[in-house]
Each structure stands twice: as structure tokens, then as C-alpha cells.
Amino acid sequence: MDALHILIELTLMPLVAFVVGLFMVLMMRRIAARIQRRVGPPLLQPLYDILKLYGKQTQISHGILHDIGIIMAVGGYIAAETMLPVPGMNGIADKAGLITLAYVLMVPSLGLALGVGQCANPNGSIGISRALTAMLAYDIPFVIVIFGVAWQAGSNNLVDIIALQQVDGIASWGIVQTPLLAFAGLFALHAILGKHPFEIYIAPAEIATGPMVEMGGKYLGGLFVMQCFQLYTAGVIYTSLFLGGGENWLTFLVKSFAVVAVPICIAYLFPRFRTEDVVRLVWKWPVMLGLIGIAFVMN
């Protein structure tokens, strides 16, 4: 693969992720609206929000780290998108692998946490404290799932994992081969998305949206962009691990949107869990199912 080719891929992959992510945000808001019997926002609403936020004429900064936090949050996701294979483009997926991807995905959270810390607002710090606790909770089933899938595929490389699932049609998909892991993964995915009932770290009414408390203008805009990437990443990872990736763009997008739609449809029916209840719940069911799933895989 020549340099130009890979450069084009590295440019296109985050761009595609952003555009798809915008529509995933739209889908999320539309689903929420429909569940609440509303009409919901128009087609380009996520784009309007981001444009408006970036175009704010006065905005405040609490210091250089506040800025760097947003840069890291957006930039970390942009980097992560190049490690997620999409139909026809592998980016640097074969140079990084699943574990690296999982840890690169923590970089944006760390950046955001630093930026929020600089804001000197205790609501933000409480939000980060809760978010990190939630991360401690959901990352355990997530890595169990990663372990199981990597063991099943005999490889750590997402490209291989996808290729292996496409050998034999639906019968070779991860969700058919390892249904327990797939369920644990879906549970973890729901928690990773941070939607109800796992959104204690946002909690608008108690801690004023936690990490976002001092974010306005392009800071909040950066977080909106990050949300697009986050939804896309979650959908694509799950599709790659359990739904055989994408044979072509159509099936790829259908699968990714379907994956994101599942937790969202559940989310808006629930209130919130407390932090310790999140940890207790996530450490109990998905972990247990994941470990049983691994036991099946390893035999």
C-alpha cells in the first residue's frame, strides 16, 4: 500500500465517521422524541448545533488546559477512527489491534477529564469522578468480550476478526457463534454510550451536566463532535466484533445504525442508577455472562 493510498484512507475514515455520527445523533434524538411522542428535530439539527456552537462570538476559557482537553477529546477520537476498519478501508487497524483501540479510546476521556479539571468547577469534577467510576465498571465486561473474541478468532487484529466472520455468512457471525459474549458486549456498549440508566455522571438536575458544566461555544461544540464519533465508534466496534463487519457500505451502515438503536430504544425508558448501583449491576450480569461465554469459547 503506497503512502498516498493510506493518506487518503486516514483522511476519509474520520470524515466518514463524523458524517455517519451526525446521523446517528439525529437518530438518537428522533428515537427519543418518538418514544416521548414528539416530532423530534429536523434532519440537519446536529449540524446546526455544531455550527452554531463553533460560531459563538464570545466564549470563555479557563486556561490552556481547558483548550487542550477539548483538542485531545476530539483528536483522540479522530485517531481512533483510523483504527476501525470500514468496507474497503483498513486504515492502520492492522498496526494497532483491539487492545490498542480500547486504550486509545481512553485518551479522549482523559483529555476531557483534564480540561474539566482546569475549569475549577466541583460539579465538573464530581462528574468526572462518576464517569471514571462508570468506566471502571463497564470496561471490565468490555475487555472480557475483547478477550473472548480475540481468543475465538485467534487474533487481536480487527481485520482478521471481520474476515473470519465473513467466511460463512450469518452462521459465522460472532453473535451466532458466541451469543453470550455478544449479549455482554451489548450491555457494556450501552454503558459505554453513557445513556440512561447509566448517565449519572451527566445528571443535569443534580450536578449541572457534570463534565460539560463550564463548556460553552466551541468547547461544547467539540463535545458534540465527540458525541458523533462516540456513537459511530460504539456501533462500528460492535458490528466488527459480532455482526461480521460490513460486506459493503449498505450492510455496514444498516448494522451500525441498528446496533446504536438498540441501547437508545432501551435508554429513554429508564431513570438513572446511582454510581455504586451502576458498578454493582455491570460487574454482576455482563461480567458473569461474559465469563461463561469465554468458558464456552475456550473449550
Binding site: 486516514l10 470563555i60 476559557s61 477539548i70 479522530i78 492502520i92 482523559l110 469534577s125 471490565i140 454510581t275
Partner: protein
């Protein structure tokens, strides 16, 4: 004269200079140069890393028919490199304003210099040990040298140091007993003879020396449940001393364990060695000890409110990764474990330096009495940021690479539970280091810290050097992995197939050059996006959302105490004080035993003995 002789002589010279000139104001600078000379002497032996070769010292004795020899191989070279670098940077840190303030506050700067120099010398001697007897001698030297460093600050450090030396003496007795058992079989202390006899021992006979030696060396490594001494002992050592101890001191235990477990017993034997009456092997036991050493101290660190204690507890936890990687025994795992020694030394020293700089300026390491210092001490913040990313094992720093190798090895070996344990440790570390950096550098700046300045260059330079090392070896792990490959070839482990950016493997490779490159390209795009947005206006931190409340300077608007209440409510009761309870139980058990022994021959009235004897005699006569 071999290069090793030069090295040891230079190290001895450093001790002498520390003794003679350690109290002078320029003493620290001279010492820095002698450490640099030691590093140069070590570089003369850099050829060791390429081929499985040894450089022997011309120093040797023959006592009672046993010859004592010292020699260096790739393993010793690697540990010596870390030791001397840690000594060099700690002394550099001490040489400037930190030392002046330490002396002005009533500390004994001379003794600190001497103690660090002695530590380096004794560690170099230990690392050169060519047979079991020199290993034990070096071990004792190291124990007492670190005791000197731990105790010199006085105050609470005395109790911690005495606790350490109690543990260390217990460990030394165990080692001595283990060596005696081996000697009983071989009549020789040389490694080949010991290796021969250990190979031929039956399972039941192998257990006793193996257990004794592992316990003894595990004390220094602070393996669970022998870890209770370490955090307090390291944390109460003055700044650079703590950095030195945290960077390398307890890794001497790992060195000795490598010698015993891998070079003498052989890892294959350890893997095959079954635990009696069960289905697990000695390797599983070691791996789970390592896993618990990762988890419990990490979550104990999460509870600490003193920055130095927090770091010291993490030092214990990170030791678990090294052992865990090593006992996996494959190329990736052992490379990860060995590499983590280097990585841990670099970021741990940087973190301790940064904390010591904050203590230097503010006079406290209490995480509830700091905050917002990033605006005043940005370089210390930068060093701490790089350090915590390394400690948490996130890309792009070097801690990620070594942990990645360990994870990868656990995945390939099919150890899901150990893998989860390792990840739990990492996640706990992320939580804990965010608390550290948040409570010290982020959040609200306290009024009394308004006029603080950045630490002087003599203190920021060492930590920035270390930060650069942490980043560069994260970007190009091949630099360290080439040494690791040399060690693996020397001690008889499978050799890792590395490249400059990580490793190439059919089952999933890692190329940090690409990962870091793409990550920074992403940051670049993020920055372009960010700065293409509207202009920002810097505001004072009191211009802040507080639900409409008017903030003023006398209002403490900051969140620091009990940073993870939700998690603590859940897991806090699970492990609180359980190990301290175990220690006190052992302590009181031993106390009871000694008291009853003492009472038996001293306290009880002789009349009772006479009475008992008379009754027994009467009974015997009557029957």
C-alpha cells in the same frame, strides 16, 4: 582490570566523595558528575546486550573453599542502567535548591548523599553477584543501605524503616534457610551446581527452597501479603530519596527472583511444578500472587490522601505487572515484565520528583490542601501528566507498551481471569492518578498558593528529562526492547521479535510509531478545528457556574475529599484493613509465642516446677 572493575571502583569513589564532600554546597554537583561517570563506565559494557556474554570482575575471594565472584551479564547491565540513572537524576535533583532547603529545614543532606551513593554501590554489587553466596551478601548490603535511606528523615520514617527492616530480616532468614537447603544438596554455591541440583530434585524437595527463596525475595518486591512495609517506608523518605527507592529499589527483588526462578530452577520447571493436593501449578500461584499484588495495592492507593503514599502504593501494584509478565514465560510476557521495570522507573521517578517539587513550594503533599497549581507550576504539571499517562498505561507513553505486552501474553496464553485482573489494576490506576493530578494541579487554586512560582531548574530538569524518556520509549519501544531481547537470550527465555515501533506478529502487531503518529495527527486536526472556532476570552476561575451564586476568593469551590464516593461505598468495606489485620495477627501471635517461651524459663516460680515434678514422680512410683 575489566570494565566491571572500573564501574565498581567509580561507584566506590562516589561513596567516598559523598562521605568527604556530601555536606559541601558543591558536593551534589560533583556527585552528579561521578554518577555520570558511572553511567559512562556502564556504557563500556553495552556490548553485553547484544550477545549472551559475561564480564567478570577481577575482584574475587576464596573463603572456606568457596570462591566469591562478581560478573555482569545483560540482565545485570539492564538493572544497573536503571539504578545508576535513578541515582544520577536523584542526585541532580538534590544538588540544587532542593538540597539547600532540605538542609535549612534541618535535614541531614550529607547523610542523604551518602545513603543514595551507598544504595547505588550495594545494588551494583548485588547485580554483579556470580554465585549464591555473593547474592546473599549483596542482598544484605542492599537491605541495610535502603534502611539507611529510609530512616534518615527521622520522625514517622523511623517507624516505617524499622518495620521494613523487620520484614527484610525475616526475608533474609528465609533466603538463608533456602540457600542452606541448596548447599546441603550441593556443597557448592555456584549457579551451575545449584541449577543442576535443583533440576534433579524431586517435586517435594524442590518446594522448600523455592518457597523460602521466593518469600525472601518477595519481601523486597513487596508481593502480597508481604507488602505492608513498603508504602510508608518509601513515602516518608525525603523527595529524591523516595524517587530513587520507588524507581529501582524494590526491583532488586525481581532481579533475584529472575535469577532463582528462571536461571536456576527454570521456568519450565515452575510451570510444571504442581501444588500438592490441588490442580494448580507453582506458576499459577505466582501469577495469582502477582495479580493480587496488582489489584489490592492499586485500590489502596485510590484511598490515599497523601500524594507520596499514593505513588508508593502504586509502586507496589506495578511490581505485580512485572512478575505477572515474567511468570507467563513466553516471549511477549517476559518482555513486558522486564520492560515494565524500565518504564516504571522512569515515570515513577518523574512523578515523585513532581510531587517533591510541589512539596518544596507548598510544604504539603496532602491532596486535600492543594489544587489549581497548573497555573503556577506548569512544568511540574507537565512532568506529572506524562508520568500519570505512563503509570496508567495509556498511549502514547511507555507504560502502555509494557502493559500491552503483558495483556497480549495473557491473551495468547489463555488466562482470561488474570487478564481481567490486570485490566482492573489498570483501570484502578487511571482513577487514582486522575485524583492525584486533579487534586494537586487542577481545580481551584488556593488563596495561599496565589504567589507560588515554578520549582527551580535543578528540580524541573530531571523530571523533564524523564518525561522525554517516557515519551520517546513509548514512541519507539524498540530502543528498550533490544536490551530486553538480549536479556531473554541470556537467561534462557524465548526471545521477542521486536521492531522499532513495537512488534510484528501474525496474531496482532503493535506499531507505536503509527499509533502515536496518528494520535498526534488527530490532536493536530482537533487543534485546527478548535482554533478555527470563535475567539476565547480568559476568565478568572471565580467567574464560574455556581447555580447563580457569587463566588469569592474566600469560598473554597473545589472537590477533593473522598473523590470516588460511589466506588468506595461499594468496595471500600471489602478490603479495608484486612492486610493490616493479618499483619497484626501475625505480630501478636509471635508476641504471644515469645512471651510464653520467656515466661516458661523465667517468670514461673521454681516451686511450681518442683511441685509438678514431685506429682509426676509420685504418680510414676505409685503406678
Amino acid at each position: 582490570m575489566t570494565p566491571l572493575d572500573y564501574l565498581l571502583l567509580l561507584s566506590l569513589l562516589t561513596v567516598v566523595i559523598a562521605l568527604v564532600a556530601g555536606h559541601r554546597s558543591m558536593g551534589g554537583v560533583w556527585l552528579t558528575f561521578t554518577y555520570a561517570a558511572q553511567l559512562g563506565g556502564l556504557m563500556l559494557m553495552a556490548g553485553l546486550t547484544n550477545q549472551p556474554d559475561v564480564i567478570t570482575s577481577s575482584l574475587s575471594f576464596t573463603i572456606l573453599g568457596q570462591s566469591l565472584t562478581w560478573r555482569y551479564d545483560a540482565l545485570s547491565w539492564y538493572f544497573a542502567l536503571i539504578t545508576i540513572s535513578a541515582g544520577l537524576l536523584s542526585t541532580m535533583y538534590t544538588a540544587g535548591d532542593w538540597g539547600e532547603k532540605f538542609r535549612a529545614d534541618g535535614g541531614n543532606l550529607w547523610l542523604l548523599h551518602v545513603a543514595i551513593a551507598l544504595n547505588v554501590l550495594s545494588m551494583l554489587i548485588l547485580l554483579g553477584s556470580g554465585d549464591l553466596l555473593t547474592l546473599f551478601i549483596g542482598w544484605e548490603l542492599v537491605s541495610w543501605a535502603s534502611f539507611l535511606l529510609m530512616i534518615l528523615a527521622g520522625g514517622p520514617s523511623i517507624q516505617a524503616a524499622i518495620r521494613y527492616i523487620t520484614y527484610a530480616m525475616g526475608g533474609a532468614m528465609a533466603i538463608l534457610a533456602g540457600l542452606a537447603l541448596i548447599y546441603g544438596h550441593t556443597d557448592s554455591f555456584t549457579y551451575p551446581a545449584a541449577a543442576n541440583i535443583l533440576h534433579s530434585l524431586s517435586t517435594a524437595h524442590l518446594w522448600a527452597p523455592l518457597l523460602l527463596l521466593t518469600l525472601g525475595f518477595g519481601v523486597k518486591m513487596a508481593l502480597l501479603p508481604l507488602h505492608l512495609w513498603q508504602a510508608a517506608a518509601y513515602a516518608h523518605t525525603p523527595g529524591p530519596g523516595a524517587a530513587f527507592l520507588g524507581a529501582i529499589s524494590s526491583r532488586m527483588g525481581l532481579y533475584a527472583l529472575i535469577v532463582v526462578l528462571i536461571q536456576l530452577v527454570g521456568l519450565v520447571r515452575v510451570i510444571e511444578l504442581p501444588v500438592l493436593f490441588s490442580f494448580i501449578s507453582a506458576r499459577d500461584v505466582l501469577a495469582w500472587v502477582a495479580a493480587f499484588t496488582i489489584i489490592f495495592p492499586t485500590f489502596t492507593a485510590l484511598r490515599q490522601n497523601d500524594a507520596r503514599m499514593l505513588l508508593a502504593w502504586h509502586g507496589i501494584g506495578q511490581g505485580g505487572y512485572m512478575l505477572l509478565g515474567l511468570v507467563m514465560g513466553d516471549a511477549l510476557g517476559s518482555a513486558g515484565g522486564l520492560m515494565h521495570v524500565f518504564n516504571h522507573a522512569t515515570y515513577q521517578a518523574a512523578l515523585f520528583f513532581s510531587v517533591a517539587a510541589v512539596v518544596y513550594r507548598t510544604g504539603t503533599a496532602d491532596l486535600n490542601r492543594l489544587g489549581g497549581l497548573v497555573a503556577r507550576m506548569p512544568l511540574s504539571f507537565l512532568a506529572m501528566l506524562v508520568g500519570i499517562i505512563g503509570l496508567a498505561g495509556l498511549p502514547p507513553m511507555n507504560g502502555f507498551v509494557s502493559k500491552w505486552l503483558v495483556y497480549r501474553s495473557l491473551m495468547l496464553e489463555g488466562e482470561p481471569l488474570l487478564f481481567v485482573a490486570a485490566v482492573v489494576g489498570t483501570l484502578g490506576t487511571i482513577l487514582s492518578v486522575y485524583k492525584l493530578i486533579h487534586n494537586m494541579f487542577l481545580g481551584q487554586l488556593r488563596v495561599e498558593h496565589e504567589n507560588i512560582r515554578e520549582a527551580p531548574w535543578s528540580m524541573t530538569a530531571p523530571m523533564l528529562i524523564l518525561s522525554v524518556v517516557v515519551f520517546v520509549t513509548g514512541l519507539m519501544p524498540g530502543l528498550v526492547l533490544q536490551w530486553i531481547a538480549g536479556i531473554q537470550a541470556t537467561v534462557g527465555l524465548p526471545v521477542i521479535d521486536y521492531s522499532l515501533g513495537g512488534l510484528d506478529s501474525a496474531q496482532g502487531s503493535l506499531d507505536m510509531l503509527w499509533v502515536v503518529g496518528v494520535l498526534f495527527a488527530g490532536f493536530g486536526i482537533g487543534a485546527v478545528l478548535f482554533y478555527s472556532g470563535g475567539r476565547t476570552h480568559r476568565v478568572h476561575q471565580l467567574d464560574n457556574y455556581a447555580g447563580g451564586h457569587f463566588l469569592s476568593a474566600d469560598i473554597r469551590y473545589h472537590y477533593s475529599d473522598n473523590f470516588y464516593p460511589g466506588l468506595m461505598r461499594l468496595i471500600g468495606p471489602l478490603y479495608r484493613y484486612s492486610f493490616a489485620w493479618l499483619e497484626s495477627a501475625v505480630q501478636s501471635g509471635l508476641g504471644l509465642l515469645s512471651l510464653s517461651t520467656q515466661g516458661f524459663y523465667r517468670r514461673v516460680a521454681p516451686a511450681n516446677y518442683a511441685l509438678v515434678t514431685a506429682v509426676l514422680v509420685l504418680l510414676w512410683v505409685m503406678l
